[in-house]
Symmetry: C2
Subunit: 224 residues, 2 copies
Amino acid sequence: MKNNSVPELSQKEIQEVLMKYFPPEEFESIKFSRQQVIFYEKETAEGLYFITKGSIKIFVRKKDGREEILRVVTAPAVIGYKHLLTATKFMTTAIALEPVEVKMVPREMFLYLVKNNSDLMETFLTLLCLDDIERERQLIDFEYKPVRGRLADALLRLDKLFGSTGSGFIYFSRKEMAGYIGSVRETTTRLISEFRQEKIIDTSNNRIKILNRKKLLDISNLYS
Amino acid sequence: MKNNSVPELSQKEIQEVLMKYFPPEEFESIKFSRQQVIFYEKETAEGLYFITKGSIKIFVRKKDGREEILRVVTAPAVIGYKHLLTATKFMTTAIALEPVEVKMVPREMFLYLVKNNSDLMETFLTLLCLDDIERERQLIDFEYKPVRGRLADALLRLDKLFGSTGSGFIYFSRKEMAGYIGSVRETTTRLISEFRQEKIIDTSNNRIKILNRKKLLDISNLYS
DNA sequence: TTTCTGCTGTGATTTTAGTCACACTCAGTT
DNA sequence: AACTGAGTGTGACTAAAATCACAGCAGAAA
């Protein structure tokens, strides 16, 4: 959660180029309700997923049944392009956290457009760089921190993601949160209760609302 | 450490395109000896670093002085391009693990070439995708595993990296290994001793040599 | 309504890994 | 040859987090 040095401008430019080549109105919209699977581990990517509404979790399932959540993605975002560009299979499963709307750009069309339009290719290059830098930041923020610190960090990160879509609530169960911060349900429950008692968050209706960002940042920075 | 579904072919193609645009003989070679810094956290990337010889560690330094090692890179490899393409500063520091040779491609030249040669741009797009997929795999392999499992995993991963350069030894001190697997020196020392007693590894001259890959894989898979 | 089912909350206990303290080895000085 | 410093090895202790066990609650289904 360091100061974000990535220029906000590029995000806008990326959106513009995506809209130019993949205008949502020209693609059939696929709807998923909460808990529906968007793609499965080991599947081949059929196309580019342009998430126009809602949020999803991307995870792997461990042998003991736990979900290890690697990323949370909120609209607007494109996913699946890495696997299209390298012709690799998904290592992860994607499931809708809230009702989701997706525009699917077929594989061949996507690849044709990218390879023949250098502005589009450059957009994906930039997008990928930003994604990767964000992933690096998350790794730095998470590793080496006790669970309490990781939870504080996760709440800030998720708040940023969900905040931008409007609702301002974090749509995560205790178990999902545990899978996101690399802990277990019980420990996560206890810590969330602590945060609630310390008036840092509120947890009505099993969603989480952040009340005091500064305290979370302090907790997170205790360890980094 | 799952089966690697990334086509080996693309790695070769990437090398060829890099050689075509950045022939090593045309660039001045910079040499670094063990422990020398190649770039610092918070610096701006001056150019593309084409590592032609040796190995480096990329890490962040924590408040308490510990190094959290995010990546180990062995020649041949290019680094720094993400920060060039997004005009962001490094979040990490890079230090030579063995004597290193680097060809530096100046920023403007790199950006000009990438933006005006679509095969080069495509190469970087692919490279970045592969990097990102590898990073995802590492995250999946590491998270949620006890230290013993992470160590087994790290040894296999490092062996692959160093093995390809020839020596076959892993040039990591106990402290560095601890920083790589997210643990502390003492715990790492103990586990390495255990592995040595179990004849899984050998540790002459403070370098590590792997004797039994299968056992490491078993230990790693116990948890995933 | 009753009966599931899945989620939350919490206590008690155990396991894992981190902390502290100190000794030993080896390479490079002085 | 003694001195230094960095890396290693290990024991004792402590702290953090996982596991186990169970209770309560809300919404969906019968």
